[in-house]
Each structure stands twice: as C-alpha cells, then as structure tokens.
C-alpha cells in the first residue's frame, strides 16, 4: 500500500516481534531512531518492554523526546510504549519517572489484591468508546498481557481490562494511541488491531 511505517528504535526488546507481526500483514517496516525518518513516516510504532525508568533513559540518550512530542501522524504505543505516552509513571526506585507527556495520565502499580503479579496471559478487553482501532473486534475479545503497572481508567481510556481492578487496556488522545497488551502476540485479534491501525 506504499505507506511508510516506522518502528521507533527505543532500545527495548520487543522490536523484532512488532516488526514480524507487521510483516505477516504484508506491510514493510523500517526500524529507526532518526528524527527525520520518524517524522516522515505515515504511521509510527512505539514499542517497549522492561521498566519505564530504563526506557526513558534510553529515549533521552537517543534525543527522541522532542521528536515523539512533535508527531502529527497516528502513533501506536505498545505495552511499555503505551505507558511512556502519559505524563509520569510510578515505575522507578523513587516512585516517579517523567514520561513523554504525549497525553495526560499516570502509570500506577496494579492493585491486584490476592491475584498474582505480573498480570500475565490472555485477558478480555472491552471498548469504552467507538474507535477505528477496535473496528471488527467485539467486546470480550482476548488479548495477551504481561505487566505489573498500568494506567487507571480515565477520560482517555479507549478500552478497559480487569485484573483485581479495572485498568486502561487502550488509550486515545489526538493522534496518539496506546495498547497495554501485545497485539503482536495476540493471535488473530492482535492482527486485526494492527490492521486497523495501519488502515487509519
């Protein structure tokens, strides 16, 4: 379809799996940490696994903060990549790390009660509002999650999940989208969501 799809090279580990998932859909992708390459893309993916503190250090070391804040095309943050999109996260030694501030919100440790952490495995997702990101994906579709921190449900929540407490499974604010789950590892449902994003 001739689109330029760029995965931001955050230095985190799940870049290959996101790239392979997109290639399975028949689109070609580029992995880059260059300002001009990222800015000229039609769609941008912001992947990430690991801790918010380490990821923000890596992003700052690559001078990517301003680049990511200036994007106007659709951007999809995945897992930690989604968490980096809000203003701050509790995931650091002193309990606060500044994130990219692409949208309002804060990441907190999941309060899972008696349930085990990390929240790991397939769980159901419910859309909170209409969005092209969830076209063709019915409520209670299973997606694959692995995380211990999450954004609580708030006005930017696009879809929610429940594990001890409800939390944001997906966020939307202007051109920025984020999913807490791993669409690249969520079977047909994940492929549908990635297709929806690419088709935006």
């Amino acid at each position: 379809m001739g689109q330029r799809i760029v995965i931001v090279n955050t230095g985190c580990a799940n870049i290959s799996s996101v790239r392979f998932a997109l290639e399975r859909l028949g689109v070609s992708v580029e992995v880059s940490s260059e300002d001009n390459v990222i800015k000229s893309a039609d769609k941008v993916f912001l992947p990430g696994v690991g801790s918010a503190f380490a990821a923000m250090q890596s992003i700052e070391a690559k001078n990517l903060t301003a680049t990511l804040q200036q994007l106007t095309q659709p951007v999809l943050g995945v897992c930690l990549g989604m968490q980096l999109m809000v203003e701050s996260s509790a995931e650091s030694r002193d309990g606060n790390v500044n994130c990219l501030g692409l949208m309002p919100g804060r990441v907190e440790r999941l309060k899972a009660g008696d349930l085990r952490l990390p929240h790991m495995g397939w769980n159901t997702v419910k859309a909170q509002s209409d969005s092209p990101l969830f076209t063709g994906i019915p409520d209670d579709t299973y997606f694959y999650f692995v995380h211990s921190f999450a954004v609580p449900v708030y006005e930017r929540t696009l879809a929610s999940c429940e594990y001890g407490q409800p939390f944001s499974a997906a966020l939307e604010y202007k051109n920025y989208f984020g999913v807490q789950f791993h669409p690249e590892r969520s079977g047909e449902a994940g492929a549908q969501l990635l297709t929806n994003f690419v088709n935006m």
Binding site: S17, R24, V49, G50, R116, V146, G187, E188, T195
Partner: protein
Amino acid sequence: MLAKRIIPCLDVRDGKVVKGVQFRNHEIIGDIVPLAEQYAKAGADELVFYDITASSDQRVVDKSWVSRIAQVIDIPFCVAGGIKSVEDAGRILEMGADKISVNSPALTAPSLINELHDVFGQQCVVIGIDSFFNEASGHYEVYKFTGDESRTQQTQWQTQDWIAEVQQRGAGEIVLNCMNQDGVRKGYDIAQLKAIREVCNVPLIASGGAGAIEHFADVFKQADVDGALAASVFHKGIIDMQELKSALSAQGIPMRKRHSLGEGL
C-alpha cells in the same frame, strides 16, 4: 477474566523437536518451525522451547531458529537452555522471544536472576525448576543439569526455599517441573504444586505428567496454577487442543476463546 494457559513444550536438540521419557531416550518428533506454527493455529496460548542439551554441554548452541519462530507465530513464546548471562538473554530476546527461562545457570549463580530482572524487566524472566520428591527424606529437592543424565545432580536447595529465593531476586514466572511425574502421563503432581502455590506469588506453570484431559482439569482446580505445560500428549496427538479447551471451559475453567473478526488488509 484472565484465562488459564495451555502451553505445549517443545524440547529442542540440534534444531529438531525431541521428546524423552523421564529425560532419557530422546526421539525426534519433527522440525521446529512447522510444529510451532501448527500449535499456534490449533489454539495453544503460549509455547516453550527448551534447548535440552545447552546447559550441560557448556555451550550456547545455534539459536537462529528463535528468529524463524518469531517470524511465523503470533502467540507468545519462551526460550530456555544455555542462557548464562545478560548477553545470552539479550540475543534471544532480540531475535523475538518474549521470555527467557533460566534453570541450571541460576542455581550456579543466583545473581543472574537479579541482573536479568534489572536489564529486561521482571516480565521476561522465567525460572525453570526441576524438582524431585525424595521419598526417603520426605522433601522436594531441586536438581540441575537434568538435560544430560550423566551430569544431573542434586543441589543443596529444597524446592520451597529456592522458590522464595528466585521470587525475591526478581523472577516473573516459575515453571515447576515435577521430575517424578515427567513423561509418564499419570497426571500432574498435585500435592507438590499445591504446596508450591502457597509460597509462589508470581504466575506458576505446572509441568510434568499430563496424560489425559482430566489431568489438566485437576491441576487447574486443585493446585490453582496459572498454566499447564505438556509435551508428549500434544506431539503424539493423544489430546486435541480444541477438545481439551472445550472440556476445561465446560468445567468452569476460564479458557481463551477466539472470535471471528472483521476483514483483513
């Protein structure tokens, strides 16, 4: 609701999937990539690949198959075997694995667990434990180098203590392989898994002994594990994945359902 996971395990030697009985007499089952693809399509929730020769041969074997698997399957997978350092783990994760599982090297150098946690995050770090019930002492005992019979040895750890240690060091998930039951298809070691569940606050995966659908139902209902791993029942076609999941679902055990979705690209 979080679904319980069904996890086929593929033991890998020299790029082929093999299966032994109580860790011995390995027979070749088939090529890795088509088998992985087949399980993903059949509805497996996750896959584990154990390179069973790596730790005991003191080498890191060719892992290029990890990348080939990451290209074709769309469910999470974990790679185990011969991961002795942050660099080893980094290579596997870069090739597209979601998690790495460490067994013997963590027993040799427990600080490896802390390092993996700090660099890659807790969600990547799976600790595999081979546990044997010693009838004489009445204790669950941890073994290492179980991939090679001639080098298999008992460690100084009792299983419950090792479980506490690995959690404190940053393990994100534990796969407990109950050696007395491995490969004999007489059911999971419910007594041991129940005992371990009480001291395990991270996801716990049962391994060793699956032979019938009821064994899966028992381990989820009685030991409250998060996932059940099995090899030969799937490789030999003794249990059909969809039949298993329907049966467990009918017994009230939450299983992932797959919806029919909209149009593709």
